[in-house]
């Protein structure tokens, strides 16, 4: 193992590499689609009106949205794993996916599945997310500090409760509503873009920078609570800031796209394997890796069953679960052979 101190020049290299990787993922997302368009011609001012609409009004905002959501989820996951001192943690463990889904489902049933997302299920899901987070926070913070084990258990239980409530609503819903509910719960970007992209274009970078500001303290938290305290970290305050940051960032993503699984779990691990566990490089690396992964996965979701479309959450799960197993096996090998 090589020591990799986080110097300024290494940080710059990681960010530059990350921008290239994200650019590649976004390019893949832009190039593939059910409807073939001549991208070089479009970029030089050519192409038909239909092609222009498909590319500039539909595909581009959606691909950018996927990049922003992917980056936001990955950054949340990286910070959340350090906060809970648990490599298996992902942002949805906080009850966000359950609360958000329940809110969205109520909106779908009340307003019908045809209502504009931003006028119905997005704000409703956001309210649901925040309600779940408030419950988790109040339960976990009772002793003055957010203890990782309590936080985790409170999140799991809150999630289970909201999913049960959701199942209850879905059981009495009409088949058409039920179909819309199923689609939402799987997580997807179908028909999204435009205003949602603008929302994420503000929230994702701000949230990522906010968590980046905690990066060095996350290194210390991941090492141990007492070590962090003895090195001058106010552990309680830091945990609360990271909790609030990851929560709001994840809640906005869930409200827009539904719970897209595995991005927040696997992208941070993949980034960690490349740049190491120092959060000052891990957080930017995770952001750009997520911003590359989700647009590419969403591109796949648009073509595998064309002219139909899969929820991208299915793609991320199908790709993510085996990749995670591969990462685990590789880590195990590293542990065994590291003594030399």
């Amino acid at each position: 193992m090589n020591a990799r101190p986080v110097t300024r020049s290494r940080f710059v290299r990681v960010v530059a590499g990350g921008v290239l990787v994200a650019g590649a993922g976004i390019t893949v997302g832009l190039l593939i689609g059910a409807e073939p368009v001549d991208v070089p011609a479009l970029l030089t001012g050519g192409g038909s009106a239909v092609e222009r609409t498909i590319f500039f009004d539909l595909r581009l905002p959606r691909v950018l949205l996927a990049a922003l959501i992917g980056g936001a989820l990955a950054v949340s996951g990286a910070a959340f794993q350090a906060l809970l001192r648990n490599p298996l943690a992902e942002p949805y463990l906080l009850g966000i996916s359950g609360g958000g889904s329940f809110g969205a489902v109520l909106a779908i049933v009340a307003l019908g599945s045809a209502a504009a997302p931003l006028a119905g299920r997005v704000p409703a899901a956001l309210v649901g997310c925040l309600a779940a987070l408030a419950v988790v926070y109040l339960v976990a913070a009772r002793r003055g500090t957010l203890h990782p084990a309590t936080l985790l258990l409170a999140g799991v239980v809150t999630n289970a409760f909201f999913l049960a409530a959701l199942a209850c609503v879905q059981y009495v819903a009409t088949p058409e509503e039920s179909q819309a509910i199923l689609r939402w719960v799987m997580g997807g970007l179908s028909g999204q873009g435009g205003p949602e992209t603008l929302l994420l274009a503000i929230v994702a970078p701000v949230g990522a920078l906010y968590l980046f500001a905690e990066a060095r303290r996350l290194d210390l938290l991941a090492f141990g609570e007492e070590t962090a305290r003895s090195l001058g970290v106010d552990v309680s305050a830091c945990r609360k800031r990271v909790f609030v940051g990851t929560s709001i960032l994840t809640a906005v993503c869930v409200a827009v796209s539904g719970p897209i699984g595995f991005v927040g779990l696997i992208v941070p691990h993949a980034a960690r394997m490349v740049v190491g566990s120092g959060h000052r490089v891990l957080i930017p690396a995770a952001f750009f890796a997520g911003a590359a992964f989700l647009p590419a996965a969403d591109g796949l979701a648009r073509v595998v069953v064309a002219p139909g479309e899969l929820p991208v959450g299915i793609i991320t799960a199908v790709v993510g679960a085996p990749s995670f197993v591969a990462l685990l096996m590789r880590a195990r090998v590293g542990e065994g052979g590291a003594h030399g």
Binding site: R10, E225, R229, S277, A338
Partner: protein, 273 residues
């Protein structure tokens, strides 16, 4: 205790009481550790030795009493300022993910780095210097998780040294170590103290502490009466040959022992099953 003519001692704990959620752990403990001094803290399991270190490091606030570092009241300082003056070597679990030794030592620079800082040449120089001081420079590139217990303690000690304070507090640095490495850790702490730092070490090894330390402090676990814990008190404090006696050990540990002396006059405790 201490030289009253000298300026403020490096570490001064004055009538400190502490506890967690209503349970009293320490009751009116006072002690002083001067620069260049190695002070051993001994006492039964769970009697409050670790709490005493946490309070001394400003990690836990005392319920009453004062901790002063170089004359400054710790409760009046910000956490980062305390961390620049006092280093604590806790019994922690270690990093969550693989981490190279040099990176672990660099964590010690945190109290000195502004927000959004990256490791500069000065940080790297200090980290390598600290590793050299504990004779662990050759471990810099190793994964912390692959080190032996003795190597690991040296590296964590380097992190504390790299933190730059004049006070070093070590919580059972020899636990899980074999007798050779136990002796090595105490020799190292002796060297660190001789270089001018005030070093407080919590330990269960009375004999090693009696050899290495300038002074020893024995805590006695507090009695619990009517369901109320009264907190640990100071049983004895002084030079090893004065305080390592059958009476003090009976009071501190509730065990009968014989005490001999080796050729250098250090007390040696003998136990029987």
């Amino acid at each position: 205790m201490g030289d009253t003519a000298s300026p403020a001692p490096a570490l001064e704990v004055e009538r400190v009481a502490a506890g967690y959620r209503g349970t009293r752990v320490l009751s009116e403990i006072s002690l002083v550790c001067a620069a260049g001094e190695l002070l051993g803290v001994l006492g039964a399991n769970g009697c409050g030795k670790s709490t005493l270190l946490r309070v001394s490091a400003g990690v836990v606030a005392p319920t009453s009493g004062v901790v002063r570092v170089g004359g400054a009241d710790v409760s009046a300082l910000r956490a980062r300022e305390v961390a620049r003056r006092v280093a604590l070597l806790p019994q922690d679990s270690g990093p969550l993910y693989p981490m190279a030794v040099l990176e672990a030592v660099l964590l010690g620079r945190h109290p000195w780095q502004p927000a959004f800082a990256f490791e500069g040449d000065e940080d790297l120089r200090l980290a390598r210097e600290a590793l050299r001081e504990v004779d662990a420079e050759h471990l810099a590139e190793r994964d912390l998780a692959t080190l032996s217990g003795g190597e690991r303690q040296r590296v964590l000690l380097a992190r504390a040294l790299c933190q730059g304070g004049r006070v070093l507090l070590c919580d059972e640095p020899t636990s899980h170590l074999d007798i050779r490495h136990q002796a090595a850790v105490f020799r190292l702490l002796r060297t660190v103290a001789d270089a001018g730092r005030a070093v407080v070490v919590v330990t269960h090894d009375v004999n090693l502490a009696a050899q290495a330390c300038d002074r020893l402090v024995f805590l006695r676990a507090g009695a619990t009466a009517d369901g109320v814990a009264h907190g640990a008190t100071l049983e004895a404090a002084g030079r090893p040959r004065d305080v390592v006696t059958p009476d003090v050990l009976r009071a501190a540990y509730g065990i009968d022992v014989a005490v001999d002396h080796d050729h250098d006059g250090h007390p040696v405790v003998r136990r029987r099953l």
